[in-house]
Symmetry: C2
Subunit: 259 residues, 2 copies
DNA sequence: CGAAATTTTGATCACGTTCAACTTCAGTGG
DNA sequence: CCACTGAAGTTGAACGTGATCAAAATTTCG
């Protein structure tokens, strides 16, 4: 039984997380197998389920295989701010597992599938394969860059610009893991979620979305977004795609340093 | 000559970067020496000098030894958003050096001293010492967590709360590297900088600062901040200190996995 | 089909921006 | 020594944006 399961798993591990990694690091077959072996189990999660709770310890790294989640904080006055919407390939537990207590909560916005890995096991693997530790750095840097852009969104972009930027960002991130076509993607989240991500009220977000529709930039219906005029959106949002550089291979680095 | 310089440097390397690292990783004398050797040179920087320019490649890691800088982006309409104020111990080039082109500019807010290290050299060292790669991950995670908190600030905290939070955060970060007393610290930045960091206009920031003064929570004068009523400030700002966990040592990790 | 969640629209109002003037202070040259 | 300059801080008045509250329309789901 176990053998057959392993066999099936062994055929192709097409995890979005792996897809994402391959964008910036070369992985040997052995690397991939090692990574896959780190995953203790795969688990489904129902919608609205809390994955991480603000203030409590958390010590897992869960790679999102399917579905979306939100990393957020609720303030005393009841206002919620979503700092990031997690999509396939993202990691639940980053940053939570690196701190004594998670600084944010994470909730499943849809049904999800997670690949669960122990934080300690991953760190142990990093000692054995420095490449993994570097990959982790790259992932964390990517996360930080994403957040930085969100700060600009909320701080200085106007509401329409913010929304446009959010949609373009989703498109770019989902494309990375093969979940978007050239100009459209599924976005199975409510407007309340979007407004909490953008620091806006629901009615105002709705109006801004209506504006993008009226101006012929997007079609949004049935939780699906179609970017009609990508150029105009990019101009509106001051969008500049971020190109993560690749992790240099060990030899490569040494050679460059000599040269 | 070189010998004497090395000797002086060799006595004690009291870099704020090192101070910061020691909060979450155990470093042997050899580790420290290796790190120090990565630094190519130390350089002074005058105020207002651009260190990194948005959109251009950058391939250094500079550890801030003294002074402050701002990581920011300017939009088409001329509005500036500062995503982070760098203090001693912080790294110029994170995230810039990990991307093909820097996503943000960095400008010196004061005179500074930087310890300059090549990004490639650091990565090479990470391959040789996985601990360094993990430290880099931890630093990047810390950066991401800081940014996430800024998103909450700007998105859902009221202007006074934001300011209170910013001051508390500065205090915590400066304390980490020995640049703050129990309830006071130097903050050599203008109100324009603070307002751009908080997504507020200068006049409004000024009023909020006046409010904190009037309510007896802070004394702010001559670019120095004194936190009079820390408890009240923390309550106002919904401040929760973030405790970065320590990087487990290799043996420790293996043992825990067996147990 | 009924109940609940979500989306949409409208009217009002407060908060924070904007613009402007004025103050204070440090640095500089007459 | 004091006028001059420019940067930073402070205060005031008016305006506009986006929140808030409320309700209707629509969709989703049990």
């Amino acid at each position: 039984m176990a053998g057959s399961v392993r066999k099936i798993g062994g055929s192709v591990w097409n995890s979005p997380f792996l897809l994402r990694l391959r964008h910036f690091v070369d992985l040997t077959a052995d690397d991939v197998e090692t990574l896959r072996a780190l995953i203790e189990f795969e688990t489904p999660v129902e919608q609205r389920r809390d994955l991480v709770v603000d203030g409590y310890p958390y010590s897992k790294l869960c790679f999102v295989k399917d579905g979306m989640a939100a990393r957020y904080k609720v303030l005393r006055n009841g206002k919620r701010q979503i700092v990031n919407v997690l999509v396939p390939g993202d990691i639940v537990g980053l940053p939570g597992s690196f701190l004594d207590q998670a600084p944010f909560s994470v909730i499943a916005l849809t049904e999800m599938k997670l690949e669960v890995c122990s934080h300690d096991a991953f760190v142990a693997a990093c000692y054995r394969r420095p490449k993994f530790a570097l990959a982790l750095s790259w992932l964390a840097v990517q996360e930080a860059t994403l957040y930085a852009e969100h700060i600009v969104d909320i701080g200085r972009r106007t509401p329409v610009e913010r929304l446009a930027h959010l949609l373009l960002e989703f498109h770019a991130r989902l494309s990375m893991v093969g979940r978007a076509s050239a100009n459209a993607f599924d976005l199975p989240i409510s407007q309340e979620v979007m407004s909490d991500a953008l620091g806006l009220s629901v009615p105002h977000l709705n109006r801004m979305l209506a504006k993008l529709r009226k101006d012929g930039m997007v079609v949004a219906a049935e939780r699906r977004i179609e970017l009609i005029d990508m150029k105009a959106l990019q101009r509106l949002a001051h969008f500049q795609p971020t190109a993560l550089s690749r992790i240099p291979a060990p030899l490569q680095v040494e050679q460059e340093l000599i040269a």
